[in-house]
């Protein structure tokens, strides 16, 4: 027998750690990023390398300031994941300073100032994204036209020039254009949905050209997370369900008053990324099973309302932040019935 202080029961552990959870989520972003890279070219790769690196650097710097050993915390991969998710949300034309600023906002302001992992009330990646969107609306909404829609994707050198901020060298407007959701907001005019679908090249089979692949990729990753039980089914199911239901109700048979068919919404914008990777961030989501149903439905509904009625083409980030606000209240109202207790 040894002299170490006796630990209480249980003395056995499943053996899955927090960092494994984060690593699985990172792994699940691979199909989505592959689709992003395929559709939007080198800019995606620059973001993917640069933003997480900035996030890790910010985390290390703050931990140093807080006089904590940085390595154990960096190893939990949470900052890396925040960086990767922010990279997925940034447009592929984003210059380097946008990614750096976004990571600083996400890691320093939204995460570490609240006490680090587990203590942040708001999703760090979405705080970074929303702040950038409010501060730099032009840079943040300058999406490339997907492959096979525009003339061509910028080649490596052009993309690098964009990333390094020397956009004056390249005629940027030749490559960029409105996304499918933006087209629906702005160009529907007096046309019916079918007419718009005929006329607009950015609309693909169900949704935005290219975007349907990106969303399909994130859906695939999300299904992998569900299969590995990293996330619960509740949030994605009710989020996408609410989005589909509301868009179906407002579809109006495809008239000119329509806000777009359900498939456009499900496979357009950041729907799948938001449903499987952003809204399911456990730290900031509602925590009971019933609470998660409500939380997902809330985010889905707010996303649709923002897409339909606000001046932004997409609303996932704001909807998630609103959901974060509501999460503690939802938790309070959805306590499960304890075993043996009468209702």
């Amino acid at each position: 027998m040894n002299n170490r202080a006796a630990a209480g029961s249980p003395h056995m552990h499943l053996g899955h750690g927090t960092s494994q959870v984060m690593q699985l989520v990172l792994l699940a972003t691979v199909p989505g990023f592959t689709a992003l890279f395929f559709c939007f070219g080198w800019g995606v790769l620059f973001n993917l390398l640069w933003v997480p690196a900035c996030a890790l650097a910010c985390e290390a710097a703050v931990l140093k300031l807080r006089q904590r050993p940085p390595l154990p915390t960096l190893r939990d991969c949470s900052a890396l994941l925040t960086g990767v998710l922010l990279a997925a949300a940034l447009p592929p034309t984003a210059p380097w300073w946008l990614g750096l600023l976004g990571s600083m906002l996400a890691i320093v302001l939204a995460k570490q100032l609240y006490g680090g992992l587990g203590f942040n009330p708001f999703n760090p990646a979405m705080v970074g994204y929303a702040a950038l969107l409010l501060a730099f609306p032009v840079e943040m909404t300058r999406w490339l036209l997907p492959r096979d829609v525009g003339d061509a994707l910028p080649d490596f050198a052009t993309a690098l020039g964009l990333f390094l901020g020397r956009e004056t060298l390249t005629p940027i407007d030749a490559y960029t254009g409105a996304t499918a959701l933006a087209v629906f907001r702005e160009e529907l005019g007096g046309q019916t949905v079918a007419e718009l679908w005929q006329s607009s090249p950015v609309l693909g089979r169900w949704s935005g050209a290219g975007w349907e692949w990106v969303n399909g990729g994130f859906l695939l990753g999300g299904l992998f997370l569900l299969y590995r039980r990293v996330i619960g089914w509740q949030i994605p199911a009710t989020l996408l369900g609410a989005l589909a239901l509301l868009s179906a109700l407002c579809h109006d048979g495809g008239s000119s008053a329509s806000h777009g068919p359900p498939l456009l919404h499900l496979f357009g914008g950041a729907s799948m990324l938001g449903a499987f990777f952003i809204a399911t961030d456990p730290v900031t989501a509602a925590t009971s099973a019933r609470g998660r149903l409500v939380y997902g439905a809330l985010i889905g509904s707010v996303t649709f309302c923002l897409r339909a009625f606000s001046s932004y083409p997409d609303g996932v980030a704001f909807a998630v932040l609103l959901g974060n606000f509501a999460a503690p209240f939802i938790d309070r109202c959805t306590q499960p019935r304890v075993q043996g207790q009468q209702q």
Partner: protein, 539 residues
């Protein structure tokens, strides 16, 4: 042979840890060699000191009664082997390592004589009181969990339960003591169950067992001939064995945590207890040994052993081939509910169902805990449907009232939450601490309430007394006043009466004057006649 029935309800959550049961099921139940010393607890926790029937230096026989309990719930204790009493005093026990329970230490002597037994009872003839007294005299306490005296539990159940549940769901990893017992002695266990059915008036007996003990299931099925018995095989899942949860799974009835199942018409017993009941009643054997699992990677010869109560842990482990180099720690109980033993000198007691002598490789200590990411895995596995992630948060911020409103006190310490927690947070310890402080807070609150009630009662009494005094004074004053008023009134009436009936002084004077005048006049007239005017004697 009866076919198993299916469970009536499903347990929420739960975990499936690796069973590790095969190590200890390779051999039949064996006996350990007689240990040189036995440390036999003779007092039950929370009970007064027992009446000791022996003294230091006395020679005792195997099965001889050492002490008789004094309390309502206390049971007798017996010498597990022949020998000489060398010490009587408080000793540390596996479940009370601080050491506050009186024990009798016996230096054993090899002896071939069989145990001294009580006369067998005829369960049909003997009647309830004699039956319960026999359980007391044979020293029978619950062998599964908390060691509650069986006679007290059965007494509370008489006429109030319709179902007896045999809790053979040995859901914790490594432990196979009940499985081994059922494998070899299922008939005795069922006999014990029939006795309790007869005494309590219950009409059916459900035997709950997990599907990871196929040999025990087969042996139970072969031994079950009575139509009142039903076998119910559950999928292996921890913690099926928690009483309230098992009652729910087997009967569909939800028992609130912490309430006795007897209040809901169910009596729950462990197979080992039923075995001991049958032996005590039908054969008169006192409870001096029990089947327990001695297992773990640090033992060369793990298995189930019939161990004498009071055998020191170290002696038992040595007999099973303890590998001192590999050994990291010993747990009394399984890896999920067990208590880490601080010292190997503690004896094995009636509630010891397993000693797990483990190695660092087999049960590694968890890495330092990380912050909670509220992943909710804990809530998914909590069999009571608590929200451990919220309770953890409330514990951190010291908000005990919120923890209480999230039903902290319903936590059964099963440890499923801590088992799955990816941040390896010691949730169970935190909840235990929180429950303790909550209980203390409640006790303090109760005490304060009582003090306040007493104070208020005192104030009320004082106020009443003052009011009464005041009233009495006022009454007295009023009485006095009335009396004075009456007296005054009386004198006035007298005066008034005298004033109205008596002639006025002037009249009196006038009358007197008139009388004098009259007398004078009479004298004047009488002088010539010489006759006295009135009443005067004649000369």
């Amino acid at each position: 042979m009866s076919l198993p029935t299916s469970p009536r309800a499903r347990m929420h959550g739960g975990i499936n840890p690796p069973g590790n049961k095969q190590q200890s099921l390779r051999h039949p139940i064996r006996r350990l060699p007689l240990p040189p010393q036995l440390i036999v607890p003779v007092q039950q926790r929370g009970e007064p000191l027992p009446e000791l029937l022996i003294g230091i230096g006395d020679r005792v026989e195997k099965g001889q009664c050492l002490a008789r309990g004094r309390g309502e719930r206390a049971v007798s204790s017996h010498a597990p082997a022949a020998g000489v009493v060398t010490d009587i005093g408080a000793q540390p026990l596996p479940d009370d390592q601080a050491g506050g329970v009186t024990c009798v230490t016996i230096a054993t002597e090899p002896c071939v004589a069989s145990a001294r037994c009580l006369p067998p009872l005829d369960p049909v003839e003997c009647g309830n009181e004699m039956f319960l007294q026999r359980l007391r005299d044979a020293g029978i306490t619950g062998l599964g969990g908390a060691g509650f005296p069986t006679h007290a539990k059965v007494r509370a159940a008489i006429g109030r339960v319709e179902t007896l549940i045999v809790n053979a769901t040995e859901c914790e990893p490594f432990i196979t003591a009940d499985a081994a017992l059922l494998q070899e002695r299922a008939a005795d266990v069922l006999r014990g169950a029939s006795l309790l059915l007869q005494i309590t008036g219950a009409t059916r007996c459900l035997v709950g067992i997990q599907d990871d003990a196929p040999a025990a299931i087969a042996s139970l099925q072969a031994a079950m001939t009575d139509a009142r018995f039903q076998l119910c095989v559950l999928p292996a899942r921890y913690p099926h064995g928690a009483e309230a949860l098992l009652v729910h799974v087997l009967t569909g009835r939800e028992v609130p945590m912490g309430r006795p199942a007897i209040d809901y018409g169910v009596l729950c017993h462990n197979p080992a207890t039923l075995h001991a009941v049958a032996r005590a009643v039908l054969h008169g054997e006192p409870l001096i040994s029990r089947v327990m699992t001695l297992t773990g990677a640090a033992l060369r010869d793990p298995g189930n052993y019939d161990v004498l109560i009071g055998t020191p842990v170290a002696v038992a482990l040595q007999a099973c081939g303890l590998d001192e180099w590999q050994h990291s720690r010993s747990l009394a109980g399984g890896p999920l509910l067990g208590v880490e033993l601080q010292q190997a000198t503690v004896p094995l007691i009636k509630t010891s169902n397993c000693i797990l002598a483990t190695t660092e490789a087999e049960l590694p200590r968890p890495p330092p805990s990380q912050p909670c990411i509220r992943c909710g895995l804990c809530a998914d596995v909590c069999p009571v449907r608590l929200l451990p992630q919220q309770l953890h948060w409330f514990w951190r911020s010291g908000e005990l009232d919120k923890a209480a409103s999230h039903h902290l006190e319903d936590c059964i310490d099963c440890g499923a939450c801590a088992y799955v927690c990816p941040s390896t947070i010691p949730l169970v310890q935190q909840f235990r601490l929180a429950k303790t402080s909550l209980a203390e807070q409640c006790a303090r609150q109760r005490q304060a309430d009582r003090a306040r009630e007493r104070f208020e009662a005192h104030q009320a009494r004082v106020a009443t007394q003052q009011r009464l005094d005041e009233q009495r004074r006022r009454e007295r004053a009023a009485l006095l006043q009335r009396k004075q008023a009456e007296a005054a009134a009386r004198t006035e009436t007298v005066n008034a009466v005298t004033a109205s009936s008596a002639p006025s002084p002037q009249d009196v004077i006038a009358a007197a004057l008139a009388r004098v005048q009259a007398r004078k006049a009479a004298k004047r007239t009488a002088e010539p006649t010489a006759l006295p005017p009135e009443g005067e004697a004649p000369p």
